[in-house]
Symmetry: C2
Subunit: 400 residues, 2 copies
């Protein structure tokens, strides 16, 4: 799917030129030559006429179990609005489908691949990687969509002109979606002599994802820098998708283990919390595309896998960590005071170089927004523009 292409009435993808039946099903030929076949039960269940009701609002009156098992398209025709009207048998119900909606949901292999999001995989050596956007400029809808798309495609964006006001953290997050508040609230990461969490200390932090001990770890994470150390304290970023694909190419057996055997992560907090979740380090969709990454070596819970699988699994994990910990694979960038790093925590691994808290104060406010909310913002923006990307299939993250 071209990510800049505008859809309009003349887009050949969305113009049906011929409709007929094939067995019980609907067949549609499009102006670009593609032919779609929509299975009868699928199409009937997706009728959203006032009588059936809408599945998007759940004000729905038709149940799947109300549909006859032998439902079939009796006839189909194109109407003047470019919609496709279908008469059903038995029963005689009539449905009408928007042509762009139909094309966007075609079940053929090339169309399913077409609507799947293609992230831009990157390495520290990739050119033109750093993307800076000015926060005040995001008031413009087009700039906001460009920002959301960059975040979707690369997994991170750096925002400038955020200011050092504390409240800016939540305000900027609101551009992406509703805040997800957990027991941490808005997390204040301040350099201190007596640390409570490693993030508070001044030692270097190896690349990792945050809070993998939750079933659903943070999605889009915001690091708002209010004060920055003069020396060190740089952010380290690694594209987990790229690193995982590199592992798949280099060591397919290790990739297989890390994408199928569940790792475990845990966290105990003095306040009286004990979290634990398991999930593969590399999460794949059913067809093998990478959806997310979950990895924090220093928060690993005891692996709960068959004894005989342990040695092989550890070899695989070590291979992946060797790559992630290798400085040649680190994108190092200093986020200045008044700037904000926005990144997908279920894709990117992040770390931090060491700094000296005795000569420099460092203060980062951090919060996050679920991937649900981020993707919702993208969909709503595309819908307003009438663009087919509203139906893009996006990676679902680190899963469990």
């Amino acid at each position: 799917m071209s990510q800049t292409q505008r859809s309009d009435a003349r887009d050949d993808r969305h113009v049906a030129v011929h409709v007929d039946t094939e067995g019980s099903d609907l067949r549609v030929r499009w102006a670009d030559g593609h032919v779609s076949r929509f299975p009868a039960i699928w199409l009937r269940h997706n009728c959203v006429c006032p009588e059936c009701g809408s599945t998007e609002t759940a004000r729905r009156f038709l149940r799947l179990t109300d549909i006859p098992r032998d439902v079939a398209v009796e006839s189909a025709r194109l109407n003047a609005q470019g919609e496709i009207a279908v008469a059903w048998k038995p029963g005689g119900h009539v449905s009408s489908y928007d042509s762009m909606w139909l094309r966007a949901h075609c079940l053929s292999p090339p169309e399913r691949e077409h609507r799947r999001h293609k992230p831009v995989l990157w390495h520290a050596r990739t050119n033109n990687l750093l993307s800076y956007e000015s926060y005040p400029a995001l008031q413009d809808k087009r700039a906001r969509l460009r920002f959301l798309e960059r975040l979707r495609d690369y997994g991170f964006v750096i925002l400038t002109d955020v200011t050092c006001e504390r409240e800016a953290t939540e305000k900027v997050a609101g551009v992406v979606g509703a805040l997800r508040m957990t027991n941490y609230g808005i997390y204040e990461l301040i350099s201190r002599p007596t640390p409570q969490l490693v993030g508070d200390t001044s030692v270097a932090l190896a690349p990792h994802t945050d809070e993998p001990y939750r079933h659903n770890p943070p999605g889009i994470t915001f690091f708002h820098v209010l004060a920055q150390s003069d020396e060190g304290g740089d952010s380290i970023l690694v594209d987990g998708y790229h690193a995982a694909e590199a592992l798949r190419a280099r060591n397919p057996a290790a990739f297989h283990l890390l994408s199928t055997v569940p790792a475990g992560f845990h966290r105990t907090l003095k306040e009286g919390r004990a979290f634990y979740a398991t999930g593969p380090v590399i999460r794949l969709d059913r067809e093998g595309h990478i959806e997310g990454v979950r990895l924090l070596d220093r928060g690993t819970a005891p692996l709960d896998i068959a004894e005989g699988d342990v040695a092989g699994y550890y070899d695989a994990l070590r291979d992946f960590l060797d790559y992630l910990y290798d400085e040649r694979n680190h994108l190092v960038v200093k986020i200045a005071a008044g700037e904000m790093l926005v990144f997908n925590n279920q894709r990117l691994l992040h770390g931090r170089t060491a700094f000296d808290p005795t000569v420099s104060h460092r203060h980062v406010r951090s919060c996050n927004v679920d991937l649900d909310e981020f993707y919702s913002s993208l969909r709503v923006a595309y819908r307003e523009l009438g663009r087919e990307e509203a139906y893009m299939v996006l990676p679902q993250g680190a899963g469990t």
Copy 2:
């Protein structure tokens, strides 16, 4: 794992009687006759001495990549405190392991099965199914743990004496864990003439899970009844685990499809949100145990699966829905004003019988708590009691 058994120093499960090496690994013989083998790399990586640091706090200094590939147990001995001390080669590091912790993490098949939670599957006809707990009594720690265990084992509990004060909703939820706030906030479900969501209308609602259009749907859900209709408005409950196991027995092919092929769910809100998530209706762990259920027929998004799989998938879904919609499989219970239904939304399907809003007012306040928080509360309670159940492996829910 006996769920009432107390652990103490004399529990034979936790008394090591002999330790030695087997190849590179540690072998432990326990007072109950069981023998555990702990692979060297697994055991070394789980060292939490002050020098290595703790993985539970992530104040961790040892990286996996610091451990020699050929690490091996050089010697092992039982010390006076019943701990197991291990000396490592190469390098000479010394680790010490708590014996209960070791036993609770034994990787043998019977021990892995032992620590896996066994839910009590139930059907509407199961005897003694309804469990009422008095909310004020939960101030007692033992009563609170019994309540949490009942919720874990059966998937629901009804709380009495909650009162009709609005604030009670959040207060009771706090007994389970920190609230999860989404765009809905505390949801107010009030019978109205012009509905915004189906939940607001007075029609019957077929059994479903809430918000399957989120990657991570609500976990523990609270329905606090402030006003109840005289006729109808009863809650319908179905144990999704039981229904799924019944499907597995009745129609293994359908079970296979529903547990492997991702369904899709969506929700569009006028305020400007468009959610979409996919995941299997029945979520299994890697070994085939049911972890969760995700299903809302009236919120189903267009299935995005290969065209040839559609008809078979719909047949499977229809079979499952036929069972769920059959009144003989419904546990029907009326939650009175001042009471609260607490249930696991990633296990139970819930519905509601119709009621007449012209003669009766109905008001339910609803909120939810992530499974993470619920499980954390259980773990913390067990840890305080020194019980091995702190390491019970709990189902991770509906996943994606």
